[in-house]
């Protein structure tokens, strides 16, 4: 089915020919770090990724950045190029909300496949926690919702997701504990991630008794806010060899996007969201030549607990409406059916879009995930969503070249 989607074979041929890889990753300290600016984190994360790859800054000829929620700049990528002191021959700022980090991988791959660059630094960093007040975060919805027809009604960011969650619980006859189970699994995973903000054990009851933010979402259904940076280096297998990179490589097998709506006002039904997730996933799976059942580990965008359920189902890992039961039965835990967000995700590790999801997928495929290492994973999927589950991006990564 997926193989027939437009463009699948073209993308597949390019990835087979070029063998695009993630060859290095970097992750700064995450948490409340008030003495560092957004550009400080960007630079520090870049340096760590370059060092992890064992290359020099001069070897990097492409740059993909995103945006800052604190320091708004008109041209984010070149502003950072100037700050960091580099002169890339390819540069781009990707800005699709929570779908950004995943699409940075694809943006870099497309630049490499078309000859615009050979070694692309993808980086995000921000002092979101120290630079924006919590009330500022609640109002961040203004950047995503309709300023004229939604914002005047007092919608908050959690509230936007709560609207989706309420309908989800209604349509599938689920209960808040189905959502809570997602937060519990993420917390369990964060316990083994050295660089995680929230490691204290969390029970379903803890989630259900936490402060109500926007019904049906409570405090622990919402992701954390953090300061920090993360980066990864995208290149090709050949170039990695030429540069003497000794890391095990994470190979890019597939990529895809799916769009549903920007404003909840124009959302027709939940199926519209599922279809967008599915299109994104099918394109990535189709390019990779795999099916959901072939995936060993999944990294799903978890800005709120509800998104994980919608993505699990939309990507075809479980039938529609069964994500909550899957979570409640602990089947997303390491060692179970499908380990999800082995680093603790946005709900417990740190929030930098899906940057850490990409980094962790790479570490897991390399076998470098320490105590939380999944046994010999061969295929990982990373899915990001931006807006209120409106814009989706998916990549499939493997520990061997795509075949």
């Amino acid at each position: 089915m997926s193989e027939n989607l437009p463009g699948i074979q073209e993308t597949r041929e390019l990835l087979k020919k070029k063998k695009v890889v993630i060859a290095g990753v970097g992750e700064t300290e995450q948490g409340k770090i008030p003495n560092k600016s957004s550009f400080h984190f960007l630079s520090e994360a870049s340096k760590l990724a370059i060092e992890d790859a064992g290359i020099g800054k001069e070897d990097v000829d492409g740059l993909v950045t995103a945006f800052s929620l604190v320091e708004h700049t008109f041209m984010h990528c070149t502003t950072f190029a100037d700050y960091f002191g580099m002169n890339p021959r390819f540069f781009s700022s990707v800005a699709v909300g929570g779908a950004t980090a995943v699409w940075m991988v694809a943006e870099a791959a497309m630049a490499i496949a078309s000859g615009q660059a050979e070694v692309v630094l993808c980086v995000r960093g921000d002092n979101t926690l120290s630079g924006i007040s919590s009330s500022g975060m609640l109002a961040l919805i203004r950047e995503m919702c309709h300023a004229e027809f939604e914002f005047p009604y007092g919608l908050t960011t959690p509230g936007g997701y709560a609207l989706a969650a309420q309908r989800y619980l209604h349509d599938w006859n689920n209960r808040p504990e189905h959502l809570a189970a997602v937060a519990v699994t993420m917390r369990k995973h964060a316990a083994d991630k050295e660089n995680a903000m929230n490691k204290d054990p969390l029970s379903i009851e803890d989630v259900l008794e936490s402060r109500v933010i926007a019904e049906p979402l409570r405090k622990y259904d919402c992701s954390i806010i953090s300061d920090g940076g993360a980066a990864f280096i995208v290149t090709t297998e050949d170039k990695a060899k030429e540069l003497g990179i000794t890391n095990d490589l994470a190979y890019l097998w597939g990529m895809g996007q799916g769009y549903s709506h920007q404003y909840l006002t124009t959302l027709e039904n939940l199926d519209q969201i599922y279809n967008a997730v599915e299109r994104s996933g099918n394109k990535a799976f189709g390019t990779a030549g795999i099916e959901p059942k072939d995936v060993d580990i999944a990294f799903l965008y978890d800005c709120f607990t509800i998104t994980v359920l919608l993505e699990l189902e939309g990507l075809g890992f479980v039938p529609k409406g069964e994500g909550g039961a899957f979570a409640l039965e602990g089947r997303m835990e390491i060692g179970k059916d499908l380990p999800v967000n082995t680093h603790g995700g946005l709900l417990s590790q740190a929030h930098l879009g899906a940057m850490h999801h990409v980094v962790e997928a790479t570490l897991q495929l390399r076998g470098d995930a320490g105590n939380r290492q999944v046994e010999d994973p061969e295929v990982a999927v990373v899915h990001g969503n931006g807006g209120i589950v409106s814009a989706h991006s998916t990549v499939v990564l493997g520990n061997q070249p795509i075949n």
Binding site: S135, L138, A139, I141, R142, H146, A147, E148, F149, E150, F151, P152, Y153, G154, L155, T156, P158, G159, A162, L163, A164, A165, Q166, R167, H170, R211, V212, I213, A214, E215, P216, L217, Y263, L264, T265, T266, L267, E268
Partner: protein, 141 residues
């Protein structure tokens, strides 16, 4: 809805040329929904061109009876800014109108916990400032 004009610090819509008729009608306590004259399809929010395949610039504003059902809702226990102090809990909802479009609004004049998906609602008008009237919804009957 209230007689005295209190200071209103919450966000207000900034009208665009193509949305102005909506807000002007609201001020007169009328809910109007745009429709493409070419296809007869309603759409919401208002745009200069129909978002359908017709891309029509020929838009008409049709007065609605203001009836719909709650498609989803969230009881907000925290507002987006200090201006909402004392306001929560309040209900933000997506209303599926009889015309088929959805409108985001508040469900008012009801205990938030009595709101449910599928509930029949009817538009009411809240004159929040001298210039702006926000269409809101209350349970029908």
């Amino acid at each position: 809805m209230s007689e005295e004009k209190k200071e209103y610090n919450k966000p207000l819509p900034e009208f665009r040329p193509e949305t102005k008729p909506f807000w002007e009608a609201a001020k007169q306590h009328k809910l109007v929904i745009p429709r493409s004259k070419d296809t007869g399809e309603f759409f919401f929010y208002p745009r200069a061109l129909s978002p359908g395949a017709d891309m029509s610039e020929d838009i008409e504003w049709v007065e609605s009876e203001g009836k719909g059902k709650v498609w989803t809702f969230s009881i907000h226990h925290m507002g987006p800014s200090k201006a909402y102090k004392g306001e929560p809990p309040y209900v933000v909802a997506l209303i599926e109108m009889d015309e088929g479009v959805k409108i985001m609004s508040n469900v008012v004049d009801v205990d938030p916990h009595d709101v449910s998906i599928g509930m029949d609602v009817q538009v009411v008008f809240d004159d929040v400032t001298d210039d702006v009237t926000l269409p809101k919804f209350k349970p029908a009957n």
